[in-house]
Amino acid sequence: MNILVCLKQTFDTEERIAIEDGQISEEGVEFVVNPYDEYAVEEAIRLRDEHGGEVTVITIGPERAEQALRTAMAMGADKGIIVDDEDLESPDENSIAKILASVIGDLEYDIILGGYMAVDDGSAQVGPRLAELLEIPHIATITKLTIDGDRVEVEKDVEGDIEYIESKLPILVTAQQGLNEPRYPSLPGIMKAKKKPLERMDIDDLDIDEDELEGRTETLETYLPPAKEAGKILEGDLDVQAKELVKLLRSEAKVI
């Protein structure tokens, strides 16, 4: 079974976000594999161990993103492809999906996995867009995956409920928390990872019109959410409290 995993390197979830000159500062930041993509990598390794085949991890990003692939390879993925995004101007989900489609178009695959969203920009769009471009079915936010022949059974998280869905290979699925518990890269795995094959590509290497890759969205402003302030607990009779609440919603919160 040929298994592809699309992953993204993101800020460590414990990092504090700082904005400098209207941009998120990367100064001194630790990067990790996007946690949802980690579920995808783990699931891919399990599928390979069960059905045989190979796991290829793919990412788009700057040079440092190689480390995310190495981490996936230390977990057990067999090889990696990194596309340098240096030449891209303000890429968005449209651009990323098209690049991935172009890279994957030349590969043989039975299943593509990814996290259902990245914890940084949280759009949850790349997976479904990629499936559309490749003209294969997709199921998002899965919490269980079983493959038998070319039959695919999944459990999908729908806001706390579970949907049971059947489909067929080839397919793209995206991982929700709960799909599995990702393993830690073992020390022997880490030592092996640096010797595993890694293919580097530039946008120029792809058979794709650069105009198509331009972002279709524009970021107007980046700012931090306002600091959370202490709450207020109203006192007195319910009538008094209700009146006070309405007054505050009107005058202070200005929402009604």
Partner: protein
């Protein structure tokens, strides 16, 4: 690194080391960082959730978790590949120890197993013994412990009462005696035990728990590190096959002292991880806790604490990885980096090992104490992590040789090296007095370059060390070992020099690579440490001089000291506020 001559242990006191001579945490490879992350994730996500149960002596967790650590390769870093380990470099193995430290008492079980438990076999076992024991110790199927201490012999290890006698058929040694405070004893399968053959030949043995006559006593009730198993090991006519003699009959002291060197260094590494953790929980708490409607992290007195904790931790971290770099360098020159030769390469840095032990345990004690203070009354409550860390910290000044013993060892070992001609201390001493008499303090109106003053202070500190020890050797000769107070003070000066210089060289190396702007935090931490440590050096030096000399001679010596300790003061208050800002913002130790 391989082309350079090996830096000699203890040479930092008489020579100037350059930034290129030190290994720094900024040079971790991606693999080393990943190894560190795997360790930290394992400790945080697997161990911490059950640590409370482990502290109640539920050692099933310990055994299970150590097994899982073995599957991840976290037990095999120091075991050669041919015996089922990973044979990793010493920096990687240090990182594992450092990152495990947040798991507190569990980290001790891990450390005792991979360190003093397994290493005697790695370094001193024969091929048969290594094949028999190491693969299962590296994989986590079996666990090791180390049994040296007895009720009547702690630091005086060779005073052990446990005896070994060859059986009549010549097939076994029969061991009798009781070993005390044996870490991991509840679940260890293999004990490295020292006993005197025929009552006088101090010898190491590999003792399996299932050998006839081997048992353990009750769990000790301890002040801290409650989650580590500590019992007596009881040997009653214990039958140990002759092939389980470790190394050679009568040469147990070589094993014991070499393992102690590594044990001391690893202890220092552990205190580094713990210190960082205290800073993290204390900074988080200081941001959350409000008094007078203000987070207490806004108060300068809390900031001062966090800044001093960070500066000490920075010096310790720099000293630890500098020493780790020495090991790596020493071992890379060996064709086969194992066995007694490897132990000898490490013993070259016995002074640095004792320094990292003393420095680390005292930095951690300070940091943990301040951590409790930042937490106020909550720091006294057991549900707060810092309370636990405070109690756990205390043992570090005691085991692996008390800090008193290690302090005596620091100048003692240096002088022995000097006598053997391994270090040109005597050559340096000749002419020093004269040089010092002639010396004029360099006072310049020009604004000094970044860290220039700090470098000068360190250079002067080295002169102070040589001056003091030189006079002591002159005065007491071979009887210097009776002057424990002077040796203690000399050890403190040497330790501070190593700490200050490690921080300075690390920062300089970072500046060479990243520039001054990006190395600002490191430079501030270095300055803060140097200006705090230097007065301690001056005070120790005065005490030494006043004990040895009197009258005019004393006045002359003190006037020389005065020249060496004259410097412009800096605004430490402002400096520490700046340092604290970063720690409070990031809620952890950052450089």
């Amino acid at each position: 690194m391989a082309e350079k001559t090996i830096i000699k242990g203890g040479s930092f006191l008489i020579e100037d080391h350059s930034p290129q001579d030190v290994f720094t945490p900024e040079e971790f490879t991606e693999e080393q960082k990943m190894i560190g992350k795997t360790t930290e994730d394992f400790a945080k996500n697997k161990v911490l959730p059950v640590l409370e149960e482990i502290e109640e002596h539920n050692f099933d967790h310990t055994v299970k978790l150590l097994g899982e650590a073995g599957e991840l390769g976290l037990l095999g870093a120091d075991v050669p590949e041919q015996y089922g380990g990973l044979g990793l470099d010493k920096i990687s193995s240090s990182l594992i120890t450092e990152r495990f430290a947040i798991a507190r008492s569990f980290a001790l079980s891990h450390g005792a197993h991979v360190g003093i438990g397994t290493l005697p076999i790695v370094f001193f076992g024969n091929d048969e013994q290594k094949k028999k024991y190491l693969p299962s110790l590296a994989s986590g199927e079996k666990f090791a412990a180390y049994a040296l201490t007895e009720a009547g012999s702690g630091s005086d290890a060779l005073g052990a009462k446990t005896v070994a006698k060859l059986s009549d058929d010549g097939k076994h040694y029969i061991l009798n005696g009781t070993k005390q405070w044996i870490t991991n004893s509840a679940f260890a399968d293999v004990f490295v035990v020292y006993a005197k053959v025929d009552g006088d030949k101090f010898t190491g043995f590999i003792v399996e728990k299932d050998f006839p006559g081997v048992s353990t006593g009750a769990e000790e009730k301890k002040m801290g590190i409650k989650g580590s198993s500590t019992r007596t090991l009881i040997l009653e006519d214990a039958q140990v096959p002759v092939e389980n003699v470790l190394y050679e009959i009568g040469k147990g002291h070589q094993i014991a002292f070499n393992i102690l060197n590594i044990g001391r260094y690893k202890l220092g590494v552990g205190t580094l991880g713990s210190s960082k953790r205290v800073i993290e929980v204390s900074a988080k708490y200081a941001n959350e806790r409000k008094q007078f409607n203000t987070p207490i992290s806004k108060f300068p007195l809390i900031q001062e604490k966090l800044a001093t904790m960070a500066a000490k931790t920075y010096a310790l971290e720099s000293a630890i990885y500098r020493t780790g770099g020495f090991f790596e360098q020493g071992l890379s020159h060996l064709d086969n980096a194992e066995g007694a030769a490897a132990a000898k390469a490490i013993a070259e840095y016995a002074v640095e090992c004792s320094i990292t032990k003393v420095l680390g345990s005292e930095v951690l004690d300070f940091v943990a104490d301040q951590g409790v203070q930042i937490h106020g009354g909550y720091g006294f409550m057991q549900e707060y992590e810092v309370e636990n860390m405070y109690r756990d910290a205390r043992i570090n000044r005691i085991f692996e040789g008390t800090n008193e013993i290690n302090r005596l060892l620091i100048p003692g070992t240096l002088l022995r090296k000097a006598m053997k001609g391994e270090l040109p201390v005597m050559e340096k001493l000749g002419g020093l007095q004269e040089e010092l008499m002639m010396m004029m303090p360099s006072l310049s109106d020009e604004e000094p370059a970044l860290l220039e003053k700090e470098a000068e202070l360190i250079e002067n500190a080295k002169k102070i060390f040589l001056m003091g020890t030189g006079l002591a050797v002159e005065k007491y000769g071979m009887k210097l070992d009776k002057q424990q107070e002077i040796l203690h003070d000399a050890a403190d000066i040497a330790t501070e020099i190593f700490a200050m210089e490690s921080a300075l060289l690390r920062t300089k190396k970072a500046i060479e690579k990243d520039g001054e702007e990006k190395s600002k935090a490191k430079a501030e931490l270095t300055t803060a440490y140097v200006y705090e440590a230097f007065p301690r050096i001056e005070q120790r030096a005065k005490r030494i001089l006043a004990a040895m000399e009197e009258g005019d001679t004393l006045r002359t010596q003190l006037s020389i000291l005065k020249k060496l300790t004259r410097y412009d003061l800096i605004n430490e208050i402002e400096l520490k506020r700046n340092i604290a800002k970063r720690i409070i913002e990031e809620e952890r130790y950052v450089v």
